[in-house]
């Protein structure tokens, strides 16, 4: 079963990171990613640039509208995600609990809504 871990944290914390801080963060998450991979649970992960780098796209009056800027002005922003494949919710929660982001932010664990085997019409 696939679960997506959505990582939210106060992005002002990371606003003025030095290169060394950035390397250190990569190392901390790298260790976790390695463990997920070795357990055969890792599907995908990414680290997102700050909310201020967001571009919004929507269709309005038949035209594609592109807007600059974050949708919500909140300190806690989506900063990254993990997609993992584990047997059940308990296992997903165990991994979320081990994720470094749980130590400084909040993780939302969402089960996949996709039918088993993926979207049949996309084949």
């Amino acid at each position: 079963m696939r679960y997506t871990l959505l990582l939210y944290s106060d992005e002002t914390l990371f606003a003025s990171m030095t290169d060394e801080d950035r390397q250190q963060s990569l190392m901390v998450f790298g260790e976790f990613i390695k463990q997920l991979r070795q357990a055969g649970a890792l599907v995908d992960t990414d680290w997102l640039q700050p909310g201020s780098m967001t571009t919004r796209v929507s269709m309005q009056n038949g035209e594609v509208r592109v807007q600059d800027g974050p949708f919500v002005d909140s300190r806690d922003q989506l900063g990254g995600y993990f997609v993992i494949d584990v047997p059940d919710l308990d296992a997903a929660l165990a991994w979320a609990g081990k994720c470094p982001a749980a130590r400084f932010g909040t993780i939302e664990v969402r089960p996949s809504g996709m039918p088993p085997g993926g979207n049949p019409y996309a084949a």
Partner: protein, 417 residues
């Protein structure tokens, strides 16, 4: 080539500054913070004093008592800052305390006679008003002078996240204010337990096997030694030293060459660290002589019991069950409940083990990997291989530790054969 102060005064003085900073950082921060009541300011003042030393010592030579010199430099900087600050009245009062700082410290000619305020600093760091998660990092930074980034890596935290918490904790200490003092007789028990807990927390993180945190075991042992030197008559300090020593002794035997976890019952005692083992046994004896039982002594005795059992080939399970029962009365945890049930199985057979597991509250058992691993074992021992396999599967799915996962897979495969 080591720096030679006779030939090269600059690198010679730098080496002395670095050596003093390494040896006396915590002592100096504790001393200054004890007077200024402000840890962040104490760190800044000491950093300034160390900078001054780098500039002055190469020219004028290293002073007879480098620590006293640094304290005076820190105090002068503090007085400068107070004089230029807006709040005159407050400053006057502080200058008086500043004078006290200098007169008390200039009397000392070396660190031996410098009053040691590190114990007060440790009590401040582990104060009940400070977030338990930040107590050990705060000690590692202020008492041992370790860089934030190094501590953050061990705690698997991005360093800005840890910096923010340390700054917040120091502000809380300053503004609450939390007093720099050793708690009184009736308060010291629980307060000391908090200090020991923080040190043990740091040790456990060092043991978790991630490459950025192994050094923490060593530093936690150092903090415990320091605590014992300052409070030699507290049995639980010795108990913690014993517990950490036994665990440290066993660490080299805990994973096999394939990276699979090895439980004590399968370890090779020849791989245990003999020095750490001796230190553990000695500390446990010292604790017992002080006649004040406590959680860490019981946990240390349990380690000793398991390891002696492995060495002699005959584990005294009734004694171990008894110790887990006592531990459950003073410090009930999910780990203790599961280990107790396992011991009950060893003493009275699989049915008793399974019954004891059944009694563990769901809040402890649910999603606890060790619960399912132990239940799998006793289900297998009672012949219920299908349910045992289910439990091993569940345990594996909950396990985020690779060596233990491999061991669980091994147990699962062994069921089939």
């Amino acid at each position: 080539m080591p720096p030679d102060s006779r030939r090269d005064p600059v690198s010679g003085a730098r080496a002395v500054v670095e050596e003093v900073a390494r040896r006396s950082y915590g002592r100096l921060v504790a001393r200054i913070a004890g007077r200024t009541r402000n840890i962040a300011l104490a760190e800044d003042l000491l950093a300034h004093a160390l900078e001054r030393a780098l500039a002055v010592w190469p020219e004028r030579g290293v002073p007879a008592s480098p620590e006293a010199w640094l304290l005076t430099a820190a105090r002068n900087k503090w007085l400068d800052e107070l004089r230029s600050s807006q709040v005159r009245q407050r400053a006057e009062a502080d200058i008086l305390t500043g004078a006290a700082l200098s007169s008390a410290d200039s009397a000392g000619s070396d660190t031996g006679s410098l009053p040691d305020d590190r114990l007060k600093l440790m009590f401040v760091c582990a104060h009940p008003a400070i977030d338990p998660a930040v107590r050990a990092p705060l000690m590692l930074q202020t008492v041992l002078g370790l860089p934030v980034r190094t501590i953050a890596s061990a705690y698997l935290l991005p360093s800005p996240a840890l910096s923010q918490r340390l700054v917040r904790a120091k502000r809380k200490i300053l503004e609450s204010p939390i007093r720099f003092e050793i708690p009184g007789r009736c308060e010291i028990g629980p307060r000391l337990a908090d200090v020991l807990e923080a040190i043990y927390g740091a040790f456990s993180i060092g043991c978790d096997g991630s490459p950025g945190s192994a050094w923490m075991c060593h530093e936690a042992l150092y903090l415990c030694d320091l605590l014992i030197s300052l409070l030699p008559r507290e049995p639980e300090c010795w108990g913690l030293l014993a517990l950490m020593s036994y665990k440290q002794a066993r660490a080299p035997a805990e994973t096999d060459p394939s990276g699979t976890y090895v439980p004590v019952s399968g370890q090779d005692p020849a791989m245990w660290c003999a020095d750490a083992l001796r230190r553990g046994a000695g500390a446990l004896q010292r604790a017992a002589a002080l006649a004040g039982p406590g959680r860490f002594q019981i946990e240390a005795a349990l380690q000793a019991g398991h390891m002696e059992g492995r060495m002699t080939g005959a584990t005294d399970w009734p004694a171990i069950l008894y110790l887990y029962d006592i531990l459950g009365q003073i410090a009930p945890t999910a780990g203790q409940a599961v280990a107790r049930a396992n011991a009950a199985g060893e003493v009275e057979g699989p049915a008793a083990g399974l019954a004891a597991l059944q009694e563990i509250p769901a809040a402890f058992a649910n999603r606890f990997q060790a619960f399912f691993a132990v239940r799998a074992y006793w289900r297998a021992r009672s012949g219920d291989l299908v349910l045992a396999a289910e439990d091993y599967e569940k345990s594996i799915s909950l396990c985020t530790d690779l060596p233990v996962r491999r061991w669980l897979h091994q147990q699962l495969r062994a069921l089939a054969s």
